[in-house]
Symmetry: C2
Subunit: 221 residues, 2 copies
Amino acid sequence: MRISELAAASGISVATLKFYLRERLLAPGTPRAVNQADYDSSHLQRVRLIRALTEIGELRLRQVRAIVAAIDDTHVPLHDLLGIAQYALEGEDEAPGPPSEAVDAVDAALVDDVLAELGWNVNRDAPARRSLARTLGSLRRLGWNVTAADVARYGRAIDGLAADEVETLRTDGSRADAVERLVTGTILFEAVLIALRRLAQERHAAARFAASASAGSIPRP
Amino acid sequence: MRISELAAASGISVATLKFYLRERLLAPGTPRAVNQADYDSSHLQRVRLIRALTEIGELRLRQVRAIVAAIDDTHVPLHDLLGIAQYALEGEDEAPGPPSEAVDAVDAALVDDVLAELGWNVNRDAPARRSLARTLGSLRRLGWNVTAADVARYGRAIDGLAADEVETLRTDGSRADAVERLVTGTILFEAVLIALRRLAQERHAAARFAASASAGSIPRP
């Protein structure tokens, strides 16, 4: 297909596709005529992956380039490749609170206690440890008295889901496929979980406040 | 205390405090001398609330103003007040994917199926319904075949937590306190949940891939 057809099929503008080609995120098409090249389904798949990484994963170009390079380098084992993608998703600035804030030793110790309480064996360098510690620090500074047992309850609630998510991670398709599924699954099921938590809160709040109000649910402002 | 002391106590600059005063988000202090006013703990509490709304809840000034007005208007019942704050947190642009995207009927129907499967009674206007529908639409367009039963599992996993969260929502303090707790609790425990999901995924991935690799955990890139 021509570049205009690739644009139509992927929902990415021709200008952006040309940018991907210049940046070597996308392999050149097969030359057809002067200023014309042919693209195939491998190009479409790559564009879809880049879009998932940038739009859903909100990764920077530098991170996208590292992941694409790891996909193309078949010497990188699949589990390393998935690790690279997973760690790239965990930017330092994703936790609420001032992004530059260092992790307080008190909060890092609380994370250790939480993991001990859960009996989870997690890499010391896992960025999610720092995210969790920083969030617990924000709660602490706001006057919340959160214990390891409180936090562990959240871990227990989602542990079974996480096990299934890892179990069903498809590794039978291409390497690009596996990365795309990992990234979209991580980010989008996060959004699923958050939306359902809010829906659950809403229904429980409606039940709790039903006694004290005429309306049976939280009203729209 | 003077405005400079209020700034030191709240961690908000004098310039920003003056902006809050001009915008009437913060009540004027008691006049002391020319160009000098006295602020007390009620001012400090209000500044902390505004900070929680803007920095943690990432609300816009317009939304902060509406919430502050509802707190000060004692004719607004507490459960309406909490509803206003909760709905303000659910902006239209929080779901992944193009923000302007309308909810597809297919996805809205899937959300109905999920709620039916869970047996949850949730307000038709709840913004989290739209967030969930848009996220399911993104998954669908990316080729994921997600069923109502798949999604309902996420709902079941966090329902008990949500019930406890609503149950322990403190309504014994001031109205401002209750709103601050609701906002910080909603946002920060979301971050706790997400960090723990990633830690759980990491430990399960380490276990799954341990057989095929020498390292026992996902390596740092």
